[in-house]
Subunit: 373 residues, 2 copies
């Protein structure tokens, strides 16, 4: 027996106690990137600062005129659309905060070995495209349909399975209007950059990043639940490898601070002058609107309410918050904690699952406030 | 004695044998990012894919109309320029490949603990701006001047030293025309993105990234050598901490491959179908024009010449190369090796210095070629 393609993959594993990050985790961290946290100050994230996570390679699309989006499966009128044709449909622009399902993974104990995010895998953009429900209505979904599968052009191997990146949504979500799913061709008023799915991607407001299929080339309606790798093997909440697990879906609430003052290069510890410091940040939840943000300046021992700005009509985007902190000399740990209208709140004790998904433990920002600056 | 600002910094150190990456290194890797290597295919790197390295925070510039570039020190006519005024000077556009001085650091044994790059800290852009020599001529450099110091708006602490990011060039380089140093306001035809120095940065073709001062706000001519932290403490080639060391200056030659085939998600091992495979990549050197690229498909045991494209008039940008590889089933390690007109070539044995600078060891790309695909 020769070596097989599956043999290039190692099984999923947890890091041993005290095990530092390996070069496999570093290779992902060096390719992909998070939002530098000071960029939380922008309502809309400049594209090069928005987080990115590419499972395989960014596909090469030398000829956009040749790109096709096909819509098929359990439909009466299969579609085969050029980009030019797609742009003739009425378009919608929605401001959406996207977050990677694995955000927070590298802070977990034990640490699942995968893309090692701390807390920064987030970004907000204005996405413009055609509502998915418009395309599905035109294609005419047949009775008995249950799932809609989205296929990207990115191709690779993952835990022994060679695949195009492929995810599904339940039919009700795919055809719904709250949120309204988009087939997006435009990011912040410009064509999608390569790393954000050029020329087409799915945008599913409120859902974690794994649902936002990039380099979208096919939509297939199924009359049975989709059981592909990214749906049934990856992106499940499990405590043991044997469990079926619950699917990862909507973004759990999270608040992050713009780290105040200035940093040390290596430790990223912040130095803040004593006095009145206005802390600001963002909060979001895909599960329900954010209703409150609390701030702690004593490492979570006490919490006080922050001022939360209105959503300015952007239900699916993060909201700005602020809090005035009378900083006194010494060492402090700052945190913020989001609550949403469904009663979800960020935990102050670590939740854990084998994939390191949907982890929304409160952020800790160590700050040193000197006597004099 | 209270705790001081310097106490937020740890001393420079080397990782112990077998020590994995720490959360401090990860925090830098998650903020900053390299070029996903498949993006070597673009002549000009899209901005969000170009490597970035920010020592402290990306500065907040809410009011570009208020930005000033001052030129002072040993000059007869100090300048105080708005962006609008700067844009009235004749401008120059140069295509430049930039590379971080620390590229390759995380592959070193022992590993210097800092921003942990593998090989991907590179990118190429068309930079437009005002030649620095134009501004220095207008300011009138006085006799006795030796160094020109550039100050950015990014502020932080590094190994105990609170500082604005500040670097110098020898007067001859600053006023030279080969390379012609630019005060750049435009990247690929658009205003600089925040992470690339908005609204102004220095571009010094052929020099490593530490010279390319971002968020540039002051230029000061000195009549004595500049001895600031980033000149005299950081960015020196040293074998021991006690040495003065040699300064890091021009980019050493390097070639990289576009990894062929498709990857495994976690190991990044490539899977390539057997048959004739055209390998492509880029090669560059800041020391002299690239004259040759060799390719090895047997982990460096033998080397054969690649076809090197002309520079198309872009002396300071990477050049494309290609090589046809008859891939046969099995495991392979691919490498490329650049040579330049001054006789510099990439080493096949690891060079080492305490900062992990100017490391241009040949890249190794593990590839699995299955019997059937």
């Amino acid at each position: 027996m020769g070596r097989r393609i599956a043999d290039v993959s190692a099984p999923a594993r947890l890091a041993a106690a005290g095990e530092g990050l390996g070069q496999d985790e570093l290779a992902l961290a060096a390719r992909n990137h998070g939002l530098p946290l000071e960029a939380l100050r922008y309502d809309v994230t400049p594209p090069g600062l928005h987080y990115t996570l590419t499972h395989y390679d960014i596909p090469h699309v030398p000829d956009e005129a040749g790109w096709r989006l096909t819509v098929g499966g359990r439909v009466r009128h299969p579609l085969d659309l050029t980009l030019a044709r797609l742009r003739t449909y009425p378009e919608v622009t929605t401001r959406v905060t996207l977050e990677c399902a694995g955000n927070g993974r590298a802070l977990l104990t034990p640490r699942p070995v995968s893309q090692p995010w701390l807390v920064e895998a987030v970004g907000t953009a204005d996405w413009t495209g055609v509502p998915l429900r418009t395309l599905l209505r035109e294609a005419g979904v047949e009775s008995g349909a249950v799932d809609v599968v989205f296929t990207g052009a990115d191709h690779g191997v993952e835990r022994g399975v060679e695949q195009d990146y492929r995810r599904s949504l339940p039919l009700g979500v795919a055809t719904g209007d709250d949120p309204e799913v988009l087939v997006a061709h435009t990011m912040n008023g410009a064509p999608l950059p390569p790393q954000h799915g050029s020329p087409l991607r799915l945008v599913v407001p409120g859902w974690y990043g794994m649902a936002q299929v990039k380099w979208l080339r096919d939509i297939t309606v199924l009359d049975a639940p989709f059981t592909g790798f990214q749906q049934s093997v990856a992106y499940r909440l499990r405590q043991t490898p044997e469990e079926t697990g619950e699917p990862v879906t909507l973004i759990a609430p999270r608040a992050l601070l713009v780290p105040p003052g200035f940093p040390d290069f290596m430790s990223r510890t912040r130095v803040v002058a004593p006095g009145s410091v206005t802390l600001t940040g963002r909060a979001w939840s895909g599960r329900a609107p954010v209703t409150a943000v609390e701030v702690s300046t004593d490492d979570g021992r006490s919490w006080r309410p922050a001022a939360l700005e209105p959503d300015h009509g952007h239900r699916w985007a993060w909201r700005r918050w602020s809090f005035v902190w009378p900083a006194v000399p010494g060492d402090h740990v700052l945190s913020a904690r989001a609550h949403d209208a469904s009663g979800n709140a960020q935990p102050t004790e670590q939740p854990w699952n084998r994939g390191g998904f949907a982890n929304n433990l409160v952020q800790r920002v160590p700050v040193f406030c000197p006597d004099v600056v």
